[in-house]
């Protein structure tokens, strides 16, 4: 019995490893995790470094204005008139422009406030003009021999940064750990499709059924091969995620304050979680793809599983509060518990709930598959 299961496992894994396209997909997907983490880090650091916006003006700013503009992350370029400014803006040379009408003694800011860039420029120009207004007011007060400090320094304040939810970290964690669970789904649905629907489509299922192997052993072999692919893919994803987060926290300022727990206990618990996730998702993949006659059908049926993995990401990013029962819902709970583990919120009860629900679901799904494969309709789609 064990021998025929093992032969089936070897056959299935060899088949998937020889399919270059599938193999590249399976390996490329976890590789997206570090790419995404470093891209985020680069963008967020970039926002701080490269936040100076070039704006056009139709007047010659004085030294005070130039200083105020620099303080407000703006750089001014002088153009002859509004017409030239419009052309420069339409060519994308400047992020917006200011015109000064002497008759009205009024500044006009032209900017697309619906765009992210326009929003920033609008805010920065406001800061610059308010600063300039304050400067002129102080000059006036000095001219009138009024104590400027008494007029302007009546209220003192300081912003104290409190510890709390770090949105960048939350986004990093959510997306990375969602990717790990997604990589399990991708690996297992690919393997399961090859082991079930493709076998039927290619006619090899009928060949193997003539061999002296019990249908139960055959399906257990296919299931184990699918589990192995899920574990492999998730471990690659886990290593890449943890490695990338560790490097990112040490290399990028934007990650300095994040609370990233990276120790042996966390790693071991995470491995347990991805193994359990692979066992359950593999079973689910086999159950779903077994109903398909062709590769295309199987891919379309299994796309629902991929959709499920995105749900925890939305829940987390929307800031919804997680109730305890959530840890009992397989697929959704894996992403959440992985995030908990590596953000220092390792909770024994949550872990036990995940283990319990996974074990029950694995038993149920295996029982279902074994029952399903006893019917000729699943094997031949006839009758």
């Amino acid at each position: 019995m064990m021998a025929s299961i093992w032969i089936t496992v070897k056959k299935e894994i060899r088949s998937i490893l020889r399919d270059k396209k599938t193999l590249i997909t399976l390996l490329a997907f976890p590789l997206l995790i570090p790419v995404m983490i470093f891209l985020y880090a680069y963008i967020y650091e970039g926002v701080e470094d490269a936040s100076k916006y070039l704006i056009g003006v139709d007047y010659q700013p004085n030294t005070t204005e130039i200083t105020l503009m620099e303080e407000a992350n703006l750089e001014a370029k002088v153009y002859d008139d509004k017409e030239v400014l419009e052309k420069a803006y339409s060519k994308g040379e400047i992020a917006g422009y200011i015109t000064y009408l002497e008759d009205e003694d009024k500044y006009y800011l032209y900017v697309n406030e619906d765009s992210e860039e326009g929003m920033y420029v609008s805010s920065y120009v406001t800061t610059y003009l308010e600063g300039y207004n304050e400067y002129l007011a102080k000059l006036y007060l000095i001219g009138e021999d009024i104590d400027v400090d008494k007029a302007y320094a009546n209220v003192e304040y300081e912003i104290v940064d409190l510890d709390g939810e770090n949105f960048i970290l939350l986004m990093m964690f959510t997306v990375s750990f969602t990717y790990i669970v997604m990589s399990i789904v991708l690996a297992t649905t690919n393997m399961a499709t090859s082991a079930t629907a493709v076998e039927k489509e290619n006619g090899t299922m009928e060949t193997i059924l003539t061999f002296p192997i019990k249908v139960r052993d055959l399906i257990v072999g296919k299931y184990l091969a699918t589990v192995i692919m899920g574990i492999l893919s998730s471990l690659i994803g886990l290593v890449l995620t943890l490695g990338s987060l560790e490097i990112a926290t040490n290399s990028f300022e934007v990650f300095e304050d994040i609370n990233f727990t990276f120790d042996m206990v966390s790693i071991l618990v995470a491995i347990l979680v991805v193994v359990l996730a692979s066992c359950f998702i593999a079973g689910l993949s086999i159950a779903v793809t077994s109903m398909a006659k062709t590769y295309k059908e199987a891919q379309s049926m299994s796309s629902t599983l991929n959709m499920l993995t995105i749900i925890p990401m939305f829940i987390s990013l929307m800031g919804m509060e997680i109730e305890k029962w959530y840890y009992l819902v397989p697929i959704l709970n894996y992403t959440q518990v992985l995030m908990d583990i590596f953000s220092g919120n390792l909770d024994l009860i949550s872990i036990l709930m995940v283990i319990l629900s996974s074990v029950i679901c694995v038993v149920l799904v295996i029982t279902y598959i074994l029952k399903q494969y006893r019917t000729e309709r699943v094997l031949f789609h006839e009758g």
């Binding site: 021998a3 032969i7 088949s15 020889r18 290619n202 003539t210 061999f211 002296p212």
Partner: protein, 251 residues
């Protein structure tokens, strides 16, 4: 010996979204095949041949009736029967991403053939079917003839006592077809029992000891070629087949 006794196979067919009908793909089929015999099964598409052969090979269960192979039934001794049986049909395809030698090794492992015996047997099979030139190429790159030779080769790897061959020479050129016919004759000479389904009447006439003609899931006639010709009043199997099918269709 293979004994098929009053075998029925019922399927359910979906007519539309709500309506389903039950029908018999095989309806009260009875025959017996002795060792050392080539037993032909002939019939048009939809006659129930493939379903019958699938039941004989143990991948489908009869709805009613019994199939005994060496006095054993699939219900009790399924694995034991399958170890002595090889089934080849148009529906039993080969894994394309491996080489013929890898396929033979995998099949041998499934049939629990000892490694030393398997190695020697693969060598003999590769030589017998002139497979040396493509033994290590991927199966997906083989020609139709080469592919069919590998299909036959994989049936030999466990040295079975029973062969169930469904349209084994279908779509092959004369040379590849002859390789298979010669193989069938050789196995018969060794005392093996072969059930052979074909569309080629001349082929059936020349190699089958007994023939079962089927139509719409029922047995039209069973006997030697001579007996069938006599009963149908025709002088060749093709005409006999048309005559008997016509009589059956006329009711």
């Amino acid at each position: 010996m293979i004994e098929v006794s009053h075998v029925y196979k019922e399927f359910t067919k979906k007519i539309d979204k709500k309506k389903k009908i039950k029908f018999y793909a095989d309806n009260d089929i009875t025959f017996k095949v002795d060792d050392g015999m080539i037993f032909g099964i002939i019939g048009p598409n939809g006659a129930g041949k493939t379903t019958m052969l699938r039941m004989l090979s143990g991948i489908m269960e009869p709805s009613k009736g019994s199939i005994l192979i060496d006095k054993k039934s699939y219900k009790d001794k399924g694995i034991e029967i399958k170890k002595n049986l090889a089934f080849l049909s148009g529906n039993t395809k080969l894994y394309k991403d491996i080489s013929p030698v890898e396929l033979l090794r995998m099949c041998g492992e499934y049939y629990d053939v000892e490694k030393d015996v398997l190695d020697k047997r693969i060598e003999v099979i590769v030589d017998r079917f002139d497979m040396k030139s493509f033994a290590h190429q991927k199966i997906e790159n083989l020609s139709t003839g080469q592919y069919q030779r590998v299909s036959i080769a994989r049936c030999l790897v466990h040295d079975p006592k029973y062969y169930i061959l469904d349209e084994a020479t279908s779509g092959l050129d004369v040379i590849s077809g002859k390789v298979i016919i010669d193989f069938i004759k050789e196995e018969k000479a060794k005392g093996k029992c072969i059930i052979y389904s074909t569309h080629y009447m001349e082929e059936a006439t020349s190699i089958c000891d007994k023939i079962l003609m089927m139509n719409k899931g029922k047995v039209l006639i069973e006997g030697t070629v001579k007996e069938i010709k006599k009963k149908s009043g025709k002088d060749n199997l093709r005409d006999a087949f048309f005559e008997l099918t016509r009589r059956d269709n006329d009711g």
